[in-house]
Amino acid sequence: MPVYRSVVCPFCGCLCDDLEITVEDNRIVKVRNGCAISTSKFLHHHENRVENPLIDGKPVALEEAVKEAAEILKSARRPLIYGLSSTECGAIAKAIELAELIGGVVDNTASVCHGPTILALQTLGESKCTLGTVRNRADLIIYWGCNPLEAHIRHLTRYSAMARGLYTSGGRKDRYVVAVDVRETRMKRVADLFLKVNPGGDYELLSALRAVVRGYGLDVDEVSGVPRDVILELAERMKKSRFGAIFFGLGLTQSEGRHMNIEAAIGLVADLNHHTKFVLIPMRGHYNVAGANTVTTWQTGYPYAVDFSRGYPRYNPGEYTAVDLLARGEADAALIIASDPAAHLPYKAARRLAEIPTIVLDPKRSMTSMISRVVIPTAAAGIEAEGTAYRMDGIPIRLKKLMEPPEGVLPDAEVLSLIIEEVMR
């Protein structure tokens, strides 16, 4: 029975590539090195599958579903294509081509996770590095508004706090680790210093740190619940580190301040580079959300929220983003690829998906597939189909095909090609 080594895990932005997967009778029977979620993903990939192409819940032939999808998209005035963070780059490229063809909007889930990170980058830039640079060099690591123990389970051991590398042979003991969050998560046990910041107070705390790093005093006793002394000490520690890294998550992007929180962090890190080496790395959630941004950027110039209604790409988050288009009732048809917005977007936006003709491409059943006009099952990328995925730090890795998809089920990219052909017909 085949054992695949160095398998890449298509779950989170860590894209761990050291898994060993045993396949027996076209079924995964054993997963080594995977985290709990990864193991669950591989072992249960065959469950809850969409078994047939569906139109209004009734099984149809693939050709028929493709035709219906093309019909819907062709006749729409404001079609939205959304998702794309949990599929491979070939599918993302095809989705953009289709959006261009139908004069639609193509957005990916970055718009509701690290979109603000990109907005901030577009204002200020960003000092970052690949994860191995942190592994090899960082003697100060700060986790801000993120909890890798829940969302990026092997991050700490493979890439950051515990990892051993070129100049960090001692691993955890060669480092000082700080966690900042609005509540005491399990990261408190990992960190040397845990800072509890008032909800919605990150911007002030980051700004204060920045002012202190710039050499100003602090006229207040505390900022966002963190005492002045602690702020002064942390600023000093940052300046004195040899290589510092801040990892941050949705605790900064989805809370009050959004992109401005990230701007404050980017500015802080830029200023710290006058004293030492410092980097900032977003903890990207879905395994290929970085790829969705990357491909969209090289094809259109913009990372997400791209509108082709006038024949050329335009970009404006808040205007062309999925939540806004849906909640305002603007989108009149939707194609959802490898994502479940009906379960995750604010209710008003989710509701709109149920009102308009929605098409879903997904290996598995989801809330969205259950409210959609057309459902087309696809092969699971990284298990039944190969392709590229970009790790949270931008490293492209090849996903492996471990087995055949169910009979008649095609990868996302191929289904999208069929829809494109049908639209052009």
């Binding site: 005035r77 700004s207 009149d332």
Partner: protein, 281 residues
């Protein structure tokens, strides 16, 4: 001025119409027939202006002589007056996003409220909004280092998030409340807030004479703004008189002679902008 009237034939479109052609620069010199034929965009379809509006009145030879009156609610129309250089547009209701964005001259009067990005990156001219403004009023578009670079915006009601982001020159007057991050990245220009100013005012403000003047209550200032002094600035009289006389904000005169607390910042960016907060009482 020659008056051209646009009467909406539809209301409350869920897919907004993009009509940057509703601008004196485009309309002046055309016949009514040609105006009806102007291209507007509804989703991915290019259509005629005449399908959405009844066009009547007179067309001027020069943009400076052209008055366009939009008679009714057009919150579903984007880009009204965008890029205009002269003339006047009056909207007798609400207007959609990007109203007067990148305009360099002329005047836009909206009796109702406007959507996001009104007056974004404008360099000259006047926008008067009778109701509320959306987010990013007079702001920089994403990625641009500079927002409003000249001209004046007056909102009678409240203004949304990030008003005046990246502002370089010009004047924004908010009659009502200002949402968070008003004047972020400001690097010149003046913002008056007559209502309540929400927190994070002037975040990452650089200096270059940037000035935010709060005549109402201030929710909270960033810890990176530092109290400097309390004084009665002499220039304030001139400003307040101008607001009263030129923009018709009579209540501004009540503040003449009042002392202001001055804060400087944003130290997070080593900035030297000023926030002036009127002393209560």
């Amino acid at each position: 001025m020659m008056e051209l009237r646009l009467k909406p034939k539809v209301s409350g479109l869920s897919i907004p119409l993009e009509a940057e052609v509703i601008s004196p620069d485009v309309i002046a010199g055309k016949t009514l027939r040609e105006v009806e034929e102007l291209r507007v965009y509804h989703g991915n379809r290019a259509e005629r202006l005449g399908e959405y509006f009844e066009v009547e009145g007179e067309v001027a030879a020069e943009p400076g002589e052209q008055l366009i009156v939009v008679e009714g609610d057009v919150s579903w129309v984007k880009y009204i007056g965008a890029g205009m250089t002269a003339g006047k547009v009056v909207v007798k209701g609400d207007a959609g996003m990007h109203l007067g964005s990148k305009m360099s001259g002329g005047e836009i009067i909206v009796e109702g409220s406007v959507g996001d990005w009104a007056g974004a990156e404008m360099t000259g001219g006047l926008i008067r909004i009778g109701g509320d403004a959306g987010d990013l009023l007079g702001a920089a578009y994403r990625g641009s280092p500079e927002g409003m670079r000249g001209g004046c915006i007056f909102v009678e009601g409240s203004a949304g998030y990030e008003t005046g982001t990246g502002m370089r020159r010009g004047l924004i007057v908010i009659g009502g409340d200002a949402a968070p991050f008003t004047g972020a990245h400001m690097n010149g220009g003046v913002i008056f807030i007559l209502g309540r100013a929400a927190k994070r005012l002037g975040a990452q403000m650089k200096g270059n004479g940037s000035l935010i003047i709060c005549l109402g209550e201030v929710e909270e200032l960033l810890p990176t703004f530092v109290y400097d002094t309390t004084y009665t600035p002499t220039f304030m009289r001139i400003y307040l008189k101008t607001l009263s006389e030129k923009l018709g904000i009579k209540r501004a005169e009540e503040y003449i002679g009042r002392p202001f607390r001055r804060y400087r910042g944003d130290r997070a960016v080593g900035g030297d902008g000023e926030i002036l907060v009127v002393e209560r009482g």
